[in-house]
């Protein structure tokens, strides 16, 4: 057990701090997931130059070209958070498409897309989910039929964040309708301004349109847009889906929320007494603090396993399930602490924390559902983590009558 990072890393940390200290004038005003402006792209290029983002991506594709170093990545993240500095670009192009292309793309595809994606010149959206295929993603219905050297795509995608601003989409479509459901899918890249694409904002319970629906009507795309083999899109996508699931439930989010709640309980009053003097709310806070600490230390354990290249087994499988639920419970406590004030929203007078707690309480529920519902997570934990059997396949009605049961 050694929680110190060693002299090389201390030096690295200092270097990051110095950079952040000296670069304040370049910090972009807004960051986030949408289309980056010039200021943001300049910042991105400063970060790549120093290896603070795109660290392990080869230089020839516009990355820093460094060796993987989990500790350096973590130190970078810690220092950026501590300083309140905006990070590098974080859209789905950078986090999901780039790793996919590095793994499965042709040289040409890598050359063509990775540098522009990293620099922010091209913004991507992800076309995986469909209204009829939620937890059962592989049952997707969007179809690409052949027409000479092209595919003609028809169908619908949902939960497509940034679709309204994106230049390009990486998209799963069914190219082999007669193949078994996991084997008939291909992974395509095409521009969002291709004729026949319509984007409609998707409002959620938070009152915001965090997502979109995307409709395809006879959208013509050259067959050369495929990444990987035709019909193997499921494999291509799955290689990076894991990344997405691993990111949900981050214990550092919970840690930040916990600190905010401690502060609010010390500052807010009812009938003149601070909320921290309320033993029942305090006990709830402390129960959650136990869980936050446990998840943070679990995160250290995962980090340590990654450094050693070991599998952390169940400790990793549970992060999404436990982390998302914990975040939801923290938001619930904050709302309860505010009492009547806790229901205010939509920029109301007397609104606290810009309504973030209510928004998060609802958005967290979306996260509990999305990226693999809690039920799917529990299936995964029991099957992959504990080695329990899958549910037996149901006898289909036809088979049932054949078997006479």
């Amino acid at each position: 057990m050694d929680l110190a990072y060693g002299p090389e890393y201390q030096a690295y940390r200092q270097q990051v701090r110095d950079f952040l200290e000296s670069s304040k004038e370049h910090w972009p005003l807004r960051s986030g997931l949408g289309k980056p402006n010039a200021e943001l792209r300049r910042w991105q290029s400063m970060l790549i130059e120093r290896g603070y983002t795109a660290r392990t991506i080869p230089k020839e594709y516009g990355g820093y070209g460094g060796e993987p170093d989990i500790l350096k990545s973590r130190i970078t993240a810690e220092e950026f958070t501590r300083a309140g500095a905006p990070g590098g670009l974080a859209g789905q192009g950078v986090s999901m498409l780039v790793p996919t292309l590095l793994d499965m793309g042709t040289d040409e595809q890598k050359q063509q897309w990775i540098p522009k994606t990293l620099s922010g010149e091209v913004l991507w959206c992800q076309g995986y989910s469909e209204p009829g295929a939620g937890s059962d993603l592989a049952s997707l219905q969007t179809r690409a039929t052949e027409d000479g050297d092209d595919f003609i795509i028809n169908g619908q995608k949902i939960w497509t964040s940034t679709a309204h601003e994106a230049d390009m989409i990486f998209c799963l479509v069914r190219t082999e309708p007669d193949a078994p459901k996991h084997q008939g899918i291909s992974y395509l890249l095409f521009p969002m301004d291709t004729p026949g694409i319509e984007v409609r904002p998707l409002n959620t319970m938070t009152g915001l349109a965090e997502f979109n629906e995307v409709f395809f009507t006879d959208v013509r795309v050259p067959k050369s847009s495929i990444v990987g083999e035709r019909g193997q899109g499921w494999l291509v996508a799955n290689a990076t889906l894991k990344h997405e699931r691993g990111m949900l439930g981050d214990p550092n989010t919970a840690g930040t929320r916990l600190s905010l709640i401690i502060k609010l309980m010390q500052e807010e009053t009812v009938d003149g007494s601070s909320l921290m003097e309320n033993p029942v709310l305090r006990d709830r806070l402390l129960r959650l603090q136990s869980q936050v600490l446990a998840m943070q230390f679990n995160g250290l354990r995962l980090l340590s396993s990654s450094i050693k290249g070991e599998s952390a087994g169940i400790a990793r499988l549970i992060v999404k399930l436990q982390g998302c639920e914990l975040n939801h419970q923290l938001a619930a406590l904050a709302i309860d602490c505010y009492g009547e004030l806790g229901i205010l929203y939509h920029g109301s007078p007397r609104l606290r924390a810009r309504g973030n707690w209510q928004r998060q309480y609802m958005f967290d529920l979306g996260l509990i559902i999305g990226g693999g519902t809690a039920q799917i997570q529990k299936n995964i934990i029991s099957e992959r983590g504990l080695g329990m059997p899958r549910e037996p396949k149901p006898a289909s009605p036809a088979v049932k009558s054949m078997a006479g049961s």
């Binding site: 937890s135 009492g339 229901i343 205010l344 929203y345 109301s348 007397r350 529920l365």
Partner: protein, 359 residues
């Protein structure tokens, strides 16, 4: 011995249910509340025609003089249909306050308007369950000054009933000098709340005391519990219907044990709540010794069960529950609103401890 509803009560509830389903469906609620909370005067008029607005007001003033149990049954249906009308404020709380603590003159001037649906009264009691942001009033020389938060009632209310210092209750004309109304916007745009400020505002005092204020809080809590009961019941029904219809992995999701158990747990938690809410309303009407305790428990318990149902029913709906498309969140938010207003569950339980002499 009969622990249940009379035929008349069942019919009353069914007729309100049908009326709201036809006249104030979700599409209408959506449209009306697009820019914030409103009181739906058209639906109010329909309810007036059904006699509902005068349910509590005494017969001699044109009302029906019925019980809180009856009013609770109405509110349950309003929750079921997330109806944007301020029934509890005017027809229940104001009607009770004025008929129990009003002078003859006060009764004569307000109760007929409550009964015929022409008068809207806002009610500010929230400081009874904890003052935030230094809310509170002073009464000097026949005028009120200060502010009160979280008043329930229609934006166009002509009269405001406010809880003042030393267990007092005042009626203020909405257009009196020094009155300012500031709409507060909550997660739930189907229920109206506002803040009122007064500055040397002339006010008429009612003959209230702590006991009366307690009764008003009790009645309000029972009504909020009933609203949550109706909303949560509806969410369970929607979740079950969705689970029977939606397919994943070649099966309706309602055949997965995990989904079935989520639905079973919701039903198992909510079903006993119905009896708790019935009893708490009945206690308000007929068993005064138990009334305060039961109102606390109904409020607190429905808040907890409501939160569980709201969350679980949304989960059963998967992504669809999270979007605006099906509008499930109208119920989710209504339940969330009811949880906090007139005392959080923690507060209501603390009150229950006090009522039983435990602290």
């Amino acid at each position: 011995m009969e622990f249940g509803l009379t035929e008349e009560q069942t019919m009353l509830q069914q007729s309100i249910d049908r009326f709201l389903q036809t006249n104030c469906p979700l599409d209408r609620v959506r449209e009306l509340t697009e820019d914030g909370a409103v009181h739906d005067t058209e639906t109010w008029q329909g309810l007036t025609d059904l006699g509902v607005t005068g349910l509590i007001a005494p017969e001699q003033y044109g009302g029906l003089g019925m019980s809180l149990l009856d009013a609770m049954l109405v509110q349950e249906m309003l929750g079921r249909h997330v109806t944007p009308v301020a029934f509890t404020a005017t027809s229940v709380l104001a009607a009770l306050a004025i008929s129990r603590a009003g002078t003859e003159e006060q009764k004569a001037s307000w109760l007929p308007g409550i009964a015929d649906g022409s008068l809207q009264i806002a009610v500010a009691l929230s400081e009874q369950s904890g003052a935030r942001d230094n809310a509170g009033l002073v009464f000097e020389d026949g005028t009120l000054s200060g502010h009160v938060l979280f008043a329930l009632g229609a934006p166009e209310a002509q009269v405001i009933l406010v809880n003042g210092p030393d267990h007092s209750l005042f009626a203020v004309q909405a257009d009196a000098p020094g009155v300012e109304r500031q709409a507060l916007r909550s997660i739930d745009d189907t229920q109206v709340i506002a803040e009122f400020s007064f500055s040397e505002t002339p006010a008429t005092q009612l003959q209230a005391d702590q006991a009366l204020l307690d009764q008003l809080v009790d009645a309000g809590r029972v009504m909020l519990a009933a609203d949550t009961l109706g909303a949560a019941q509806h969410m369970i029904e929607k979740a079950v219907d969705y689970a029977k219809d939606r397919k994943q992995f070649n099966r309706v999701i309602g055949s997965f044990q995990a989904v079935k158990h989520m639905c079973a747990e919701m039903a198992a938690e909510l079903e006993p709540c119905r009896s708790l809410v019935w009893y708490s309303a009945h206690a308000f009407d007929d068993i005064p010794d138990e009334s305060r305790l039961l109102a606390c428990h109904a409020k607190a318990h429905l808040a907890e069960v409501g939160r569980f149902v709201a969350r679980t029913a949304t989960e059963v709906h998967g992504g669809m529950g999270f979007t605006d498309l099906m509008g499930l969140h109208y119920w989710f938010k209504r339940i969330g609103f009811n949880r906090q207003i007139l005392g959080s569950p923690e507060r209501a339980r603390e009150d229950a401890a006090r009522i039983q002499g435990w602290i």
